[in-house]
Amino acid sequence: MNQTLVNFFKKYDYSFFLPMYAIFFLGILNLYSATHAHTSEVMQDLYKSQLMWFGVANIIALVVSLLPPKTLFQMSYWAYAINVFLLILVLVMGQKGMGAQRWLVIGGFRLQPSELMKISLAFALARYFVKNNPEKELNLKQLIVPFLITIIPTILIVMQPDLGTGLLLILIFLVVAFFKRLKWKSIGILILIGLVSGSVMYKYGLKEYQRKRILTFIDPQADAKGSGYNAIQSQIAIGSGRIFGKGFKKSSQASLNFLPENHTDFVFSIFNEEHGFFGSIILIAFYIILLLRFIWLSGAVLRFYDSVLAIGIMSIFFWHTFINMCMVMGLMPVVGLPLPLMSYGGSSLLTFGICIGVATSLSNSRNLF
């Protein structure tokens, strides 16, 4: 008994947990630095609750990592269906916060189903692609059903309204479809459709503030809420870090509350201000290591389902990281996506914890179960 336990921990794959710890370590230092000088005590104590949430995320990751991939496979559609149902529930009876309806209160707990939907979608897509002609290259016609699987929760989330997360689902779908050998010709057509439907959507489908964000990005002059100013202050913060940064707790731009959401969306600016170009290379290296570890896993597993799932989960990480970085550097409009393991927020920590757990489970299945 004891022997098997030792054996278990010997064979257990820590290669996903380690980069997670590395990034979170930088993240918590950064969060402390961003909030320690804040005038309100609630803000000063944010890092404590972030630590608490990380603890919870770890436990959940560990539990998930112990589930055999076969179980994950079997519950794929169920998870998806329940999650879609929860999204509908949010629209019907969800709690409002900051003008959008995102929360569901269940017995004192606040649940954000749109966060979980990213993972559920990865599960559902993996299951679908594995069961339907897995060997064939994809064309547009075969893309219809998985697209429907994606667009239903997307629409529900956009209605909340949470445009950022909605778009993220489509991006996850695209990565998985690309991996599942979508024909190059189809990719070309998709890009065309995307451009056309994007402009139509912009014209008719967006809420006023969402349109403003995009407008602000394209043309700061159109700004009415001053978010162009935030983008500029963020760039000043990043730029002022120069090569080695101003040093830990030395951020002036951010600590002086020039940046409004410096503990959530704009953590990367503060990190850059304090640790400069050099620090960013280290942070980005950790992210790349983690992402490549996912991709490597997709080629090393025993079942095709595991392979697709690994790519899907990877894409959640990737898009969050990339989009957040681009938006604080002024390369994309501010859509409000957190930087994985760096931004403050319980639900996003839990989401990424689950991702790490799933990946570890897939990896463990090769030699543990």
């Binding site: 060997e135 162009g228 002022s240 120069r242 201000e273 990737f318």
Partner: protein, 662 residues
Amino acid sequence: MFGDEELIKIHRERATAVANIIIFCFMIVLVRLWYLQIYNGEKYHEYSVQNRLRKEIVRAPRGMMYSRNDVLLVDNIPRFDAVLTRQFLQKKERTLKRLAEILDMDLETIKKIIKKNSYQAKYRPIIIKKNISLEEVAKIETENASLPGIFVDTFISREYVDEEVGAHLLGYISEISQDKLPTYQTRDELDYSLGDFIGQFGIEEIMDRSLRGENGYEFVEVDALGRKKKYINTDNLFKGIEDKSPKPGNNLKLTIDRDMQKAAYEALEGRSGSVVAINVETGELLTMISTPAFRPSEFSKGLTQEYWSSLINNEDKPLGDRSIQNHFSPGSTFKPFTAIAALEEDIIDPSTKIRCHGVFRFGGRNYRSWKRYGTEKVDITDALKHSCNIFFYKVATELDIDDLAKYAKMFGFGKKTGIQLPREVSGLIPTKEWKLKRNGIEWQKGETLSCSIGQSYVLVSTLQLANAYAAIATKGKLYKPYVVKEVFDNQGKIIKKFEPELVRQIELKPSTWESVRTGLYKVVNEPNGTAWWRRGLGNMMAGKTGTSQVVRAQSEEQLYSKCSEMDYKYRHHGVFVAFAPFDNPKIAVAALVEHGCGGSSAAAPVVEKVVNTYMKKYLPEKHEKLVRKDKESLARFYRKRRQEQEEKLRQQEAEEEDGSEG
């Protein structure tokens, strides 16, 4: 059929492609970082160190309030603060010393203020002295070369034209404190910032959204001496950032009449109480006064510690609104509603007469009339006129408390009126069910007796009283009282208009209306009526006096001891409610004078002043005529009394003569 292994193999190519794309994406990120941090690093560093570009909030002017006759009641006036910005402070000792001289402050105090705010960013101005005089402003401005880092900040303070008059109604605003900021932000889902003001009381609180407007902002660049200049686009980085001008708050037109407000306040000044006057045809509030009051402008200027503690430590609680946030036993002013219940439930009819003698025994207890007099038999109108308790006790022995409650509730008692003001109390009209639930004890018949004269559990607010009497005045039209008439923007465009809202039409027998209204008329307009001596001239009021017991009378002695000789806190509250003019009622007025003893002596003069102001202003011709009539009837009264006295004298003389003869 492909096995899993083959499947994974044929997808490896795409996996590699994905990896390459990801690496490419991060290359973009690094290139951008290189551009920001290395290529432009120095420039941005300079910007961040100097905080040169700044976004400053331009606060929206708050909306103003006008009376029903468009007289300005609440205004905004610019005031000045002396502030210090540490970033630009030089020659600290010398500068602060000079500043202390100008502001007539202690050097140590100034240093303490700076120290207290030292956690703030250096560029943030620290307020050294609030609300400085124009002289001080001039000194700071002329000496600004020798006072580096010292500036004058303008802020808009709220001015309430009549200060204490109607303070509770208009309310006040105060600055949102640091720790309350998140609470308000989540409550209102509005992005308040530090330095914003928010309505905390009265109309300022309830109509805050309409009044507050929307802040704007402007971009300023600050030079090395801390002087602001308008930001001029020269740099690519800030290309196209534009200012946003603030959107001023909307103005309010109230239903309030300023002259009546002042008359009411003057009549009450120095005592604790409240007055409410209502337009009986619409439910518009004409007057609403609560005393003692506070000076609302102090709150927006920034309260001094002394003023605040003087408010908090005052036993008369000036911060409480006695017109709607306070309830009391209505005393005899409740009798008309008992009368209505009795008449409608056929316990009595308009001609029923009952002897009004001194003590009424019921269930082993003595119920007393408020005055030890009278052996005559009276009908309902005279019972109201003399405020005869025994009459109502007798009626109450046959009246079911739930029936009484039914009629009282018809007139709006026991429930919030729903006026556009915060924290209104609902008062209380007891029922059997209520008592059982509250105390677990069955209703006692004796309690109906006390309730019938407005004591015991019955509780009302001044506003409810005025509104209920308004319904008597209009023979059953109960309106929802309101105080904001119109919301309009600075161009005068009406954004929202509030219309009269009829809550219900109370249907009673015509004879019931007739009896009750006649009774109320007699109270004021017939000699021996409880308010006859307080009717003034040219008012033609119909009303009812009342005494609200603060403590239950324990002994005969206490009951009949003179109220004015009792300890202040044991004295009864005086209540008076009336509507006028009787033949074509326009307003209903209720007044409560706490510990004022009699309703007639304390509260009736207050109501009379308010009614009189109304009559003179809105019905001058009728008023003139009524004054003449009142003078004539007064003359008649005195003539008659003189004749009676002379008659008596003659009789006495005659008797004496008889005696001497015998």
